[in-house]
């Protein structure tokens, strides 16, 4: 029998074919299965919480807000109110306000009049039960007042942390930025679980019980309008606003995104938003875009309107205008 090199089997090939268990492959496999087990434990964590009583079975099996029957929602809100009372010591009047017929909200802000006093940003805190008792908290107000240099609208050189003795400073002007309730809202499009959507009256809302906290919406928002609860919200008992609705200012759980809702617990009751109520210069104008005689339509027809980042195509319902 002649020697045929093709029939010769190299030791390396045998190792490749049979893959005996070496120390290295064992450790690899062990690490992978540890990760798998850890992932499974994390996925089952709600069940452990369920066992300890941190959440109820109802909450675990709760459907999306838009699939809830009114009775279910009532029951869930009663549970939430009871939970809030247990945790924060105040029982809120938790309601669910539906969009009004024939109403689409619009907001306009007079850049000539705004003096940058930040009263709106602080009224927002007082109204919307954001986390703020812990000094380590990131400022959760939905309004950020930017200080810009006169002569251009340059957001990149703007300053949020300005704190002079008096405002307005002679060479500056001020631009409060909050949720623009866009008609083409990028935040609602990127949400993987549809926990945020646009209501009939134009308000973009979040179902805090459905949000998984991935923060895609925060990355998608061109106006930096969303805030994330990195930790369990802290709020002093006497600062809690008991007038709450399911979709707006109820006290949020940890790990969810929240945002400005044009104070829908006020505006769907016919009232003005909290930020407008406190504006000392009357720079803020709020109204119904579908009512041709409303103040907001007067501005859109008669004033010089500026839309922030108009080029990104979000079509906001929040307008800036210039007017003496």
């Amino acid at each position: 029998m002649s020697h045929d090199p093709q029939n010769e089997v190299s030791p390396k090939t045998i190792e490749q074919v049979y893959r005996p268990m070496t120390r290295r492959t064992f450790l690899k496999g062990a690490a992978a299965s540890m990760v798998g087990v850890a992932g499974l434990m994390a996925a089952l964590k709600p069940l452990l919480e369920l066992d300890s009583g941190a959440i109820t079975l109802d909450e675990l099996l709760q459907k999306h807000y838009r699939q809830l029957t009114p009775e279910d929602l009532r029951r869930i809100m009663d549970n939430l109110a009871a939970k809030a009372e247990k945790e924060h010591g105040v029982r809120p009047t938790l309601r669910d306000l539906k969009p009004l017929d024939g109403v689409e909200f619009g907001y306009a802000l007079n850049l000539t009049r705004c003096i940058g006093c930040r009263k709106c940003a602080h009224a927002c805190l007082a109204e919307n039960n954001q986390s703020r008792a812990n000094p380590d908290d990131i400022e959760m107000s939905y309004i950020r007042v930017l200080e810009l240099d006169k002569g251009a609208i340059n957001l990149e050189t703007s300053n949020v942390y300005y704190n002079p003795e008096t405002v307005p400073q002679p060479d500056k002007y001020y631009m409060p930025v909050q949720c623009h309730q866009c008609r083409q809202a990028p935040c609602t499009k990127v949400c993987p679980v549809q926990a945020t959507w646009q209501e009939k009256d134009g308000i973009v809302v979040v179902d805090y019980n459905w949000c998984i906290g991935c923060r895609y919406c925060m990355a998608a928002c061109p106006y930096d309008a969303r805030r994330f609860n990195y930790q369990k919200p802290t709020i002093a008992k006497e600062q809690i606003n008991p007038n709450q609705t399911y979709l707006s200012n109820r006290i949020r759980p940890k790990g969810v995104v929240e945002k400005c809702t044009f104070c829908l617990h006020r505006t769907r009751d016919g009232k003005y938003p909290a930020c407008l109520e406190v504006c000392p210069t009357g720079a803020r104008v709020f109204g119904n875009l579908l009512d041709p005689d409303s103040e907001i339509n007067y501005i859109l027809k008669n004033k010089r309107v500026y839309i922030l980042k108009e080029d990104v195509g979000t079509q906001p319902r929040f307008y800036y205008f210039f007017d003496k």
């Binding site: 003096i115 940058g116 006093c117 930040r118 009263k119 940003a121 602080h122 000094p135 380590d136 908290d137 990131i138 400022e139 107000s141 950020r144 949020v160 942390y161 300005y162 704190n163 002079p164 003795e165 008096t166 405002v167 307005p168 505006t267 009751d269 016919g270 009232k271 003005y272 407008l276 109520e277 504006c279 000392p280 210069t281 009357g282 104008v285 709020f286 109204g287 119904n288 409303s294 103040e295 007067y298 501005i299 004033k303 007017d323 003496k324």
Partner: protein, 225 residues
Amino acid sequence: MIKFAQYSLRLALAVAISAGVWWLCQVSSAGEAQSIQITEPLPPANLPVVEKPPAEQPPVGLPTDTHLDKTPPRATKGLDLVKLGWTYNCMECHKLLKARWNYDRPMVEHKDIRLDHGNNRFCLNCHHPTNRNAWVDYDGAEIAQANVVQLCAKCHGTTYRDWNAGVHGRQNGHWDEAKGDKTKLRCIQCHDPHSPKFQAMKPLPPLTYPSRAAGADAAHAPHIP
């Protein structure tokens, strides 16, 4: 003869007719003149009637907005009468002190007033020369104190237009008037009429950003209040 009689009859008829027409004309023109006399000089009914005692300010704004009202209390009552020593009835002094357009000396009374209203440099551009409890209109008529918006509208027409539309100035309450009241502040509740530029104010504290989140360098930096 008959012909002459006919002719004279015609003449008489013509004369009679023309006389009748002239009489009619006279009567009708007299009637016209009479009707003009009736409609003529009655004063227009919409002129503001201002009483001499100070006008009461109607309630405007929400109760929480009272601190914004820069107008002095218009009627001093009770103990304040003794404490202050005067009422806000301007005519108590000004019935003796005649108004002048210009003063060549600094004022010794009303020292707290510094008129800084642009080109509007004269007291009597706004204040009525003979009734200090009222404002003065273009034609010298009186504008009631409570109608101060009408006074400001004399010059600030476009602002008045926007205010009427609800775009200038502060509104509170309800955007949906079917559900509740909407209140509008009037000019002098935000603007001091003698110095109408909006006053600068101390801003509320800025957004805080925890030093821990700002990185190691900022960890020992003082916390932003």
